[in-house]
C-alpha cells in the first residue's frame, strides 16, 4: 500500500489504487419491486467502502449482486476487469476471488471449524490437506480462534463464529471482501472482537465493501461511505464529511435516527 499522504487525518484518503469492483448502471427487480435503481459505484484496490442506509434500502442486495448471489436485470459488474460470468464453473472461479461474510455467519454446521476453513482451499484451490490445514491454522490464529479448531460451529459464541467466517473467506485469498452487516446478529460485547479483525484487515490493505451501521468502524477504516435509500445510492462521501455534514435530506434524517440512541 502507498503511504498515507495525510497522516493527521483519521481516515485515509480515497481511491488508493486502480478500479477493482466496477458497478455500472445496475438495476435489479424482485418481481414488480425495484430493489436497485441505476447503481453506479467503483471500489478501488485497497479501498474500504462502507454502505449504510435504512433497512430495506437494498444494501444486502447490492452486496449479493457483486458475487452474483443475486442476478441483475441491467448494467454491468466487473471484478478486476472481468465481467461476472453466467452460472457455471467460471462463475465459481470468480466467486472464489470475492470473499463474503454474512450477518448470520453461515458456517457449515456438520464440519469442524478447521474443516470449515479448509473446504474451499481443498475443493476450489486444489490445495493438499496438509497445506490447507496449515493455511487454516494460520488464519484461525490471526482471528484468535485457533484453540477452537476441532470444535463444531454450534459450540462457539457468535463472535467466534463470525471470526471463523472471516477466516474461511480469507482462506481463498480473495481480491475483495464483502461484509453484509457482520455484527448485527451479535451480542453487544462481541461486536468489537469482530470489528477489530476487520479494522486489521483494512489496515493490511484488503479491499472491502462493508454494509454496517457501526460508525466507529467507518470512521476508523473506511475511505468512503455510500449512503443508500430506496434502492439508490443517494450520497457518497468521506466518513467524517458524511457523519458531520451529510448533504442529502434523507441522509440527515437517517443519521438523526441512528444518533439519538
Amino acid at each position: 500500500m502507498t503511504a498515507d499522504p495525510n497522516p493527521a487525518q483519521t481516515s485515509p484518503q480515497p481511491a488508493p489504487g486502480r478500479p477493482l469492483v466496477e458497478i455500472t448502471n445496475v438495476d435489479k427487480h424482485f418481481g414488480e419491486f425495484h430493489a436497485l435503481k441505476d447503481i453506479t459505484l467503483t471500489v478501488h484496490h485497497g479501498e474500504v467502502v462502507v454502505v449504510i442506509g435504512p433497512s430495506g434500502s437494498g444494501k444486502s442486495t447490492l452486496c449479493r449482486t457483486i458475487n452474483r448471489l443475486e442476478t441483475i436485470d441491467n448494467g454491468t459488474i466487473t471484478i478486476d476487469g472481468k465481467v461476472l460470468p453466467e452460472e457455471g464453473a467460471q462463475l465459481a472461479q470468480l466467486r472464489s476471488d470475492v470473499g463474503m461474510v454474512f450477518q448470520s455467519f453461515n458456517l457449515f454446521a456438520h464440519k469442524t471449524i478447521l474443516e470449515n476453513v479448509t473446504l474451499g482451499p481443498i475443493k476450489v484451490r486444489k490445495l493438499g490437506k496438509a497445506d490447507a490445514d496449515a493455511l487454516a491454522m494460520d488464519l484461525l490464529t490471526r482471528v484468535g480462534v485457533e484453540h477452537q479448531a476441532q470444535k463444531f460451529p454450534a459450540q462457539l459464541s457468535g463472535g467466534q463464529q463470525q471470526r471463523v467466517a472471516i477466516a474461511r473467506a480469507l482462506a481463498m485469498k480473495p481480491k475483495v471482501m464483502l461484509f453484509d452487516e457482520p455484527t448485527s446478529a451479535l451480542d453487544p460485547e462481541m461486536i468489537n472482537e469482530v470489528l477489530d479483525v476487520m479494522v486489521e484487515l483494512a489496515q493490511d490493505g484488503m479491499t472491502m465493501v462493508v454494509v454496517t451501521h457501526e460508525m466507529g468502524f467507518a470512521r476508523k477504516a473506511a475511505n468512503r461511505v455510500a449512503f443508500m435509500a430506496d434502492g439508490e445510492i443517494v450520497e457518497v462521501a468521506e466518513p467524517e464529511t458524511f457523519f458531520t455534514a451529510p448533504r442529502s435530506e434523507r441522509a440527515k434524517d437517517f443519521l438523526s435516527k441512528i444518533l439519538t440512541h
Binding site: 458475487n67 463474503m100 454474512f102 453461515n106 475443493k123
Partner: protein
C-alpha cells in the same frame, strides 16, 4: 425345507442389497436434479417422480419384466438371472422416487445461508450439494429414510410373482411340499421378514445417533 428357506432368504437379501445401492444412487441423482438450477433437469425429475411414485409397484414390475424384454432389452442369458435383474430395476426405479422425495425434504431443512456461503467460496453447484447440503440433509432424514428402506425390503416380495427365487417363492414351494404345515410356514416367513426389518431399523437407529448435528 430349511435349505429352501435359506436360499429364499438369500434371494431376498440379494434383491434387497442390489436395490438398496441402486435406489440410493438414483434417488440422490433425482433429488439433486429437483433442486438444480437447470429447469430441464428439475422438470424431468419432477415428472419422473410423480409418474412412477403414483403407479402401483406391481405395474412397474410388469413393465420392467415383460415390457423391457418385449423391447428386446435383455441383461443375461439365463432366464432366472434376467428376471432377477429386471425385478431389481423395477424396485430401484420405484423406490428411488421415495428416496428422492425424502432427501428433498431433508434438503429443505438445511439453511439456505450455508449453501450461499458454499457458493460464495467458489464451490460449484455439485460441490455445494455433495459436501455441504446433502451430508446435512441425509442426517436429518435418517428416520424416514429408514421407513422407505424397510418398505422396500417388504416390496421385494412382489418380485416372487415374476419368476424370482426369494422368500415368498420359497414359502410357496414349501407350502406345496408340506400343505399340513401351512400356518407354521406362513409364520416362519413372517418371522424372517420381521428379523430382517428389525435389523434394518436398528442400523438406522445407530446411524441417527452417530450422525447427529449440533445446531
Amino acid at each position: 425345507m430349511t435349505q429352501l428357506f435359506l436360499s429364499g432368504t438369500w434371494g431376498t437379501l440379494r434383491l434387497f442389497l442390489l436395490t438398496l445401492v441402486g435406489c440410493l444412487v438414483l434417488g440422490t441423482i433425482l433429488a439433486a436434479m429437483r433442486v438444480s438450477p437447470t429447469p430441464v433437469l428439475r422438470v424431468t425429475a419432477h415428472t419422473y417422480v410423480n409418474v412412477v411414485r403414483n403407479t402401483p409397484l406391481t405395474l412397474v414390475m410388469f413393465f420392467c419384466v415383460f415390457g423391457l424384454p418385449y423391447l428386446d432389452i435383455r441383461f443375461a442369458e439365463s432366464a432366472g438371472l434376467n428376471s432377477m435383474i429386471l425385478a431389481t430395476i423395477a424396485l430401484i426405479a420405484y423406490t428411488a422416487c421415495f428416496v428422492a422425495e425424502t432427501l428433498r425434504s431433508g434438503i429443505a431443512t438445511v439453511p439456505v445461508g450455508q449453501a450461499e456461503a458454499a457458493r460464495a467460496i467458489g464451490l460449484t453447484f455439485g460441490q455445494t450439494l455433495s459436501t455441504v447440503v446433502l451430508p446435512q440433509a441425509v442426517r436429518t432424514v435418517i428416520p424416514p429414510l429408514g421407513s422407505v428402506i424397510i418398505a422396500m425390503l417388504k416390496n421385494t416380495s412382489i418380485a416372487s410373482a415374476f419368476n424370482n427365487r426369494e422368500l415368498m417363492s420359497a414359502m410357496r414351494n414349501a407350502i406345496e411340499l408340506r400343505g399340513d404345515l401351512v400356518i407354521t410356514i406362513l409364520l416362519a416367513t413372517a418371522v424372517v421378514y420381521l428379523v430382517l426389518a428389525l435389523i434394518l431399523g436398528r442400523v438406522f437407529d445407530l446411524l441417527e445417533k452417530k450422525l447427529v448435528i449440533l445446531r
